[in-house]
């Protein structure tokens, strides 16, 4: 009888995990089932370019059910409870599913309710609807003060706020609006990015472009009537357009099932990705509280490790490798400018120069993603 692998979540992490594992195992040895409730799979990194109408959004969306490789069972349903002690999962559709291996890839969710005033006035580009809405706002913008920031740490795709900021600077220049616009960038910690040498590189570029930065700025509330963002530290910045990444938390089902930390994320072993003492319960992607970027590029490397491990386990072999926190992330630093960051737990990334090649790598990455990465090929 094949080992039953149950994967919760059909985003980047769940889909890549299922497809990679299918490549690494035979159907005789392993049965793979994915449970998720996304009708479409939206390639989120495109949100930055879609906001500036630099990409056709239709290329960034594919029907979820068609992204799984042959031999992966996909069930469109919502998980309502996870019982790791009894190896079972319940769904809204009334299913009670048992497993031999559980892989939690439920990602995170936006919690705008955490910041008073957020929903009334803030814009962002972290889902397709909001990216298109922001595109309209930018088309109508005639000058003033734009404030960009993030309402919490962690967020998905941590470089996205600075990517948006640099493209905005060039977009305003192109439309003759830069000298009529102040760009303010607010950030929660004592620099403009979480990784020190990348922060130094980004900070210098912001200074060169006349972008005004406010560090140690943790958003406390937003006053939509007077158009002001108030920080916990007592600083206030007014705006005409506010682009603020919403607060994130892990999925509610993870907290409700008693698996989460305060932020709703799962505490897993940083090298083995297993939950507590369970050797058959794992988490990958944004659902974990690992000290590594919440990004598809992270899920890709985690899935590589975990699919190798489960393939070895189920075929009677031993897998002694560890997940070392590997991430490879291409980010935009302006129009036709980009940097690719390679790093892991022990080696910080280098950020030395802008590359046109890296920019185009990012600009067309939905094609790469849907044709190979999500399929588990790359």
């Amino acid at each position: 009888m094949p080992a039953r692998v149950l994967i919760l979540g059909d985003g980047d992490a769940g889909t890549i995990m299922a497809n990679k594992l299918r490549f690494h195992t035979s159907r005789k040895d392993v049965e793979i089932t994915v449970v998720g409730n996304s009708k479409n799979h939206y390639f989120k990194p495109d949100g930055v370019h879609i906001s500036f109408n630099m990409l056709d959004y239709k290329k960034s969306v594919k029907p979820t059910e068609f992204l799984f490789n042959y031999g992966v069972n996909y069930i469109a349903d919502t998980v309502t409870a996870i019982d790791v002690a009894n190896h079972s999962v319940k769904t809204a559709g009334g299913k009670n599913m048992n497993y031999d291996y559980l892989i939690i890839a439920t990602g995170d969710r936006f919690t705008p309710e955490d910041i008073p005033g957020y929903s009334e006035s803030a814009r962002h580009f972290y889902n397709l609807d909001h990216a298109l809405e922001l595109q309209k706002e930018l088309k109508a913008f005639k000058g003033g003060k734009i404030v960009i920031g993030q309402a919490s740490i962690p967020i998905m795709c941590p470089p996205a706020p600075y990517e948006f900021t640099f493209l905005l600077d060039e977009y305003l220049n192109f439309h003759g609006l830069r000298d009529k616009t102040e760009i303010h960038y607010v950030y929660p910690i004592n620099s403009v990015f979480t990784i020190p040498n990348v922060a130094d590189y980004i900070s210098k570029k912001m200074e060169e472009r006349g972008i005004i930065t406010h560090t140690l700025f943790n958003v406390d509330s937003i006053d939509p009537k007077n158009k002001k963002v108030q920080s916990l530290e007592g600083e206030s910045v007014d705006y005409d357009l506010l682009v603020m990444i919403p607060p994130h938390r892990g999925q509610k089902v993870i907290s409700d099932s008693g698996l989460a930390d305060d932020g709703g994320y799962i505490n897993v072993d940083k090298n083995r990705l297993n939950y507590k003492d369970y050797d058959n319960v794992f988490a990958v992607g944004d659902a974990t509280n690992l000290p590594v970027s919440k990004a598809g590029a992270t899920a890709h490397f985690e899935s590589q490790y975990l699919s190798n491990k489960i393939a070895a386990d189920t075929s009677g072999n031993v897998y002694n490798e560890l997940y070392e926190g590997d991430v490879a992330c291409t980010t935009v630093t302006g129009y036709e400018k980009g940097i690719t960051l390679f790093f892991n737990y022990n080696k910080p990334p280098r950020a030395n120069f802008d590359s046109k090649f890296d920019y185009f790598l990012k600009w067309q990455s939905a094609d790469t993603f849907f044709s190979s990465m999500v399929r588990g090929i790359a």
Binding site: I153, P188, I189, N190, T194, P196, L216, L232, E233, P291
Partner: protein, 78 residues
């Protein structure tokens, strides 16, 4: 240090910006007058946490070197 902490956060082996975020979370939950102590092994936090305490107008009681980690102690004053 002869000040007793009301809230102790053990953020050792947590990477930047984890310890700072943990301290801010504790600050939000604490009452005015309470003392918060954070343990950290992250080098950046030794500079960033006092900077946050100063900017937010709280009281920095001290930064203390301990055995293999350090401790930052603050009082919530507003």
């Amino acid at each position: 240090m002869d000040v007793k902490a009301d809230h102790i956060i053990d953020a050792r082996n947590s990477y930047c910006p984890g310890p700072l975020m943990e301290m801010i979370k504790a600050y939000k939950q604490a009452k005015v007058g309470e003392v918060i102590s954070i343990y950290s092994t992250d080098v950046g936090t030794k500079k960033d946490a006092p900077a946050w305490i100063q900017k937010s107008g709280q009281e920095l009681i001290g930064v203390f070197d301990r055995d293999g980690y350090y401790e930052i102690v603050m009082r919530k004053v507003k």
